[in-house]
C-alpha cells in the first residue's frame, strides 16, 4: 500500500457496493445494490431468510465473485484486488466450526499464519487475553460448547487486527449471557481498535443496542439504509425496531 493510499484510507468508505448483482444459476439473489458504509460504523444488515445477506458477506469476504457490479473494501475491489481486501478483513461465519482435534491456540496460530501475522504465537496470546479466554488456549476445540466456539471464532477473526469485521448471524445458538458478552466485545472492538463491523443478524434487540446504522434487504433489494437515530426519528409511531422492521418488510 502506498503512503498516499494509507493517508487516504480513512476518507475512503469502509464498504461500498455499486450496482451489485448476484445470481445462482438463473435465480437472482442480489439485485442492483448500492450501499456505502463509512469507517467506524457498526452496520446491521437485516432481512428475511433467503434475502441475500449471507451472499453479500460471501462477496465482501472474496469467497464468491459477483455476477455484475462491484464491491469494495477500503477502496480495494473484492475481485481485482483480492489480496489487499483479505488483509483488511476478519470474518466470523454462521455456525463456525474449527479443527476439533486441535487446541484453540493451534487453530488460531494456523489462521494467524494464513493472515500473514509476523509473530503468530504472540498475536494469539494477546488476542485470547483480550477476549478473556486465555484459559481455553490449550483445550481441544472439539470439546467446546457453542459459546466457547463462538469466542474462539471471534478470536480467529481479529487475531490479525483487521479493519473490518464481518459477522454472519453471530448470536445464533447463544444463550442470553453469551449474547451480552458478544455485544460487549463488538463495542470494545469498535471503540478500542476502531474496527468497522458489518453484521447479519435477526436479533433486533441487539441491533438497536449495538449498531450505529442499519440496512434492510428484501428479496435481494436494498429497501432501506440509514442510521439508527434517523430510523427511530422517521418511524416515531413504532415502539421498537422490531415493529419498524416488520413494517418495512411489509412495504414502506
Amino acid at each position: 500500500m502506498t503512503a498516499r493510499r494509507v493517508e487516504q484510507q480513512w476518507n475512503i468508505p469502509a464498504i461500498e457496493f455499486q450496482g451489485l448483482c448476484h445470481s445462482y444459476d438463473t435465480d437472482p439473489v442480489l439485485r442492483d445494490i448500492d450501499l456505502t458504509i463509512e469507517h467506524g460504523e457498526i452496520f446491521g444488515f437485516l432481512g428475511h431468510n433467503g434475502a441475500g445477506k449471507t451472499t453479500a458477506i460471501n462477496i465482501l469476504t472474496t469467497l464468491i465473485k459477483p455476477t455484475s457490479g462491484s464491491a469494495k473494501v477500503y477502496g480495494f475491489d473484492v475481485v481485482a484486488e483480492r489480496q489487499s481486501v483479505t488483509r483488511c478483513i476478519g470474518y466470523l461465519p454462521s455456525e463456525v466450526r474449527m479443527y476439533g482435534h486441535l487446541t484453540a491456540a493451534e487453530n488460531l496460530e494456523f489462521f494467524a499464519k494464513l493472515s500473514g501475522v509476523e509473530e503468530p504465537r504472540k498475536a494469539v496470546a494477546e488476542t485470547l487475553e483480550y477476549l478473556d479466554c486465555a484459559d481455553l488456549a490449550n483445550t481441544r476445540v472439539g470439546t467446546f460448547s457453542t459459546g466457547m466456539r463462538q469466542r474462539i471464532g471471534i478470536a480467529q477473526a481479529i487475531v490479525h487486527r483487521p479493519k473490518v469485521l464481518f459477522l454472519d448471524e453471530p448470536t445464533s445458538g447463544l444463550d442470553p449471557l453469551g449474547v451480552r458478552q458478544l455485544r460487549a466485545t463488538i463495542l470494545r472492538l469498535n471503540h478500542d481498535l476502531g474496527m468497522t463491523v458489518f453484521m447479519n443478524t435477526h436479533l433486533l434487540s441487539e441491533v438497536a443496542r449495538v449498531c450505529t446504522s442499519i440496512g434492510v434487504l428484501n428479496h435481494g433489494e436494498l429497501i432501506y439504509k440509514d442510521s439508527i437515530e434517523e430510523t427511530i426519528r422517521r418511524f416515531p409511531d413504532e415502539a421498537s425496531l422490531e415493529e419498524i422492521y416488520v413494517r418495512m418488510e411489509g412495504g414502506v
Partner: protein, 304 residues
C-alpha cells in the same frame, strides 16, 4: 503459504491418528507379504518334491523344479498386489480427508477470507499427501529389506536398487489415487458421495478396466501370478489397444520386471510402462488445481 498448509495438514493427520493407522496398515501388509512369500515358497518347493516322488512311483517323468531358481526379490511378489489393492485405498482415503475434513466443517470460509490462493491451498495438501506416501513407502521398504536379510542373510546392491525402483514406481502409482480422492471431494457436494465416487473409480481402474483390455476376471487381479484368460478374438483385437492405459496392469508388469518375477525385458520397455502412470498423475494434478478454483468453499458445515 504452501508450507503453512502442508504443516497444518500433517499435524491434523497426526492428531486424528490417520497417520498411525496408515503406518500400521502398511507395515502389517509388508510383513504379511514377506511371511507369505517365504512360507509359500518354502512349502511349495516341498510340495513339488512330494509330487515328483508320486510321479516317479508311477514311472512318469517330472519337469525340473521351477521354484529353485526364483529370484531373491520374488519373496515380495505379493507387494505387487497389495500396493494397488491396499496402498491405493490408503492413498484414496489420504486424499479424501485432506480436503473433505476442511469442507465438512466449512473451514473454507475462514481460510479463503485470508491471503491465500486456492492454488497454494491445494498444493499444500498435495505436498502433504506426497510426503506422507513417501514416508509410508520408505517404512515399507525398510521392512522389506529386513525380510530379505532375514530370509537370505544378505541383500545385494543390485537387489536394493531394484527394490528402491519398485517403491519409486509405487509412489507414482499411489499419487494417482491420492489425487483421485481429492478430486472426488471437489466435484461432489457430500462427503459420503465423495468417498464412494473415489471407491468407484478405484474399482473400475483395478478390476473392471483390466477385464475390458485383457479379459482378466476380478479375482485374477488378486493373484501375483496371472493365468492368461481365454479371450474372444474380435473383442480384444479392439479393446487390447487400450491396454497401455490400464495403469494397474502396467504397474504390475513394470513391477514384475523390476523385481524380476516376470521374464526379462529391455529397461526402456519397462520405462514405457511407467509413462501412462506418470502422465495420469500429472494430468490429475493439473485437474485438481483447476477444480479447486471452481469449488464452492463458502458453504457452512456440511451434512454427510
Amino acid at each position: 503459504m504452501i508450507a503453512t498448509i502442508a504443516m497444518h495438514q500433517f499435524l491434523s493427520l497426526q492428531r486424528q491418528r490417520v497417520l498411525l493407522v496408515m503406518f500400521i496398515t502398511m507395515l502389517t501388509v509388508t510383513i504379511l507379504a514377506g511371511v507369505l512369500g517365504w512360507s509359500s515358497h518354502h512349502t511349495i518347493v516341498r510340495v513339488y518334491d512330494e509330487a515328483v516322488k508320486i510321479l516317479a512311483s508311477t514311472g512318469r517323468p517330472a519337469p525340473p523344479n521351477p521354484f529353485l531358481l526364483k529370484p531373491t526379490l520374488s519373496l515380495l511378489s505379493n507387494m505387487v498386489v497389495y500396493i494397488p489393492l491396499i496402498g491405493a485405498l490408503l492413498a484414496l482415503i489420504l486424499g479424501h480427508v485432506s480436503i473433505a475434513d476442511d469442507d465438512s466443517i466449512g473451514i473454507g470460509r475462514l481460510v479463503f477470507s485470508r491471503q491465500i490462493t486456492r492454488t497454494n491451498y491445494v498444493l499444500g495438501k498435495i505436498v502433504t499427501a506426497a510426503a506422507v506416501l513417501v514416508l509410508l513407502l520408505v517404512a515399507s521398504m525398510i521392512v522389506s529389506v529386513g525380510s530379505l536379510v532375514v530370509v537370505n542373510r544378505a541383500i545385494t546392491g543390485g537387489d536394493f536398487g531394484r527394490l528402491a525402483l519398485f517403491y519409486a514406481l509405487s509412489w507414482f502409482y499411489l499419487m494417482v489415487f491420492a489425487l483421485i480422492g481429492m478430486i472426488a471431494v471437489l466435484v461432489t457436494r457430500r462427503r459420503s458421495n465423495a468417498l464412494l465416487s473415489a471407491m468407484g473409480a478405484w474399482l473400475v481402474i483395478t478390476f473392471v478396466y483390466p477385464q475390458f483390455t485383457s479379459g482378466l476376471r476380478p479375482t485374477q487381479s488378486l493373484n501375483p501370478i496371472t493365468d492368461p484368460a481365454s479371450t474372444s478374438q474380435t473383442f480384444f483385437r479392439i479393446s487390447s489397444r487400450l491396454r497401455p492405459f490400464s495403469i494397474v496392469e502396467q504397474y504390475k508388469e513394470a513391477s514384475g520386471h523390476i523385481l524380476q518375477t516376470a521374464p526379462a525385458e529391455a529397461f526402456a520397455q519397462t520405462i514405457q510402462r511407467v509413462i501412462p502412470i506418470a502422465a495420469l498423475a500429472l494430468g490429475l494434478l493439473l485437474l485438481t488445481t483447476l477444480l479447486v478454483q471452481r469449488h464452492d468453499f463458502s458453504r457452512s458445515a456440511q451434512s454427510e
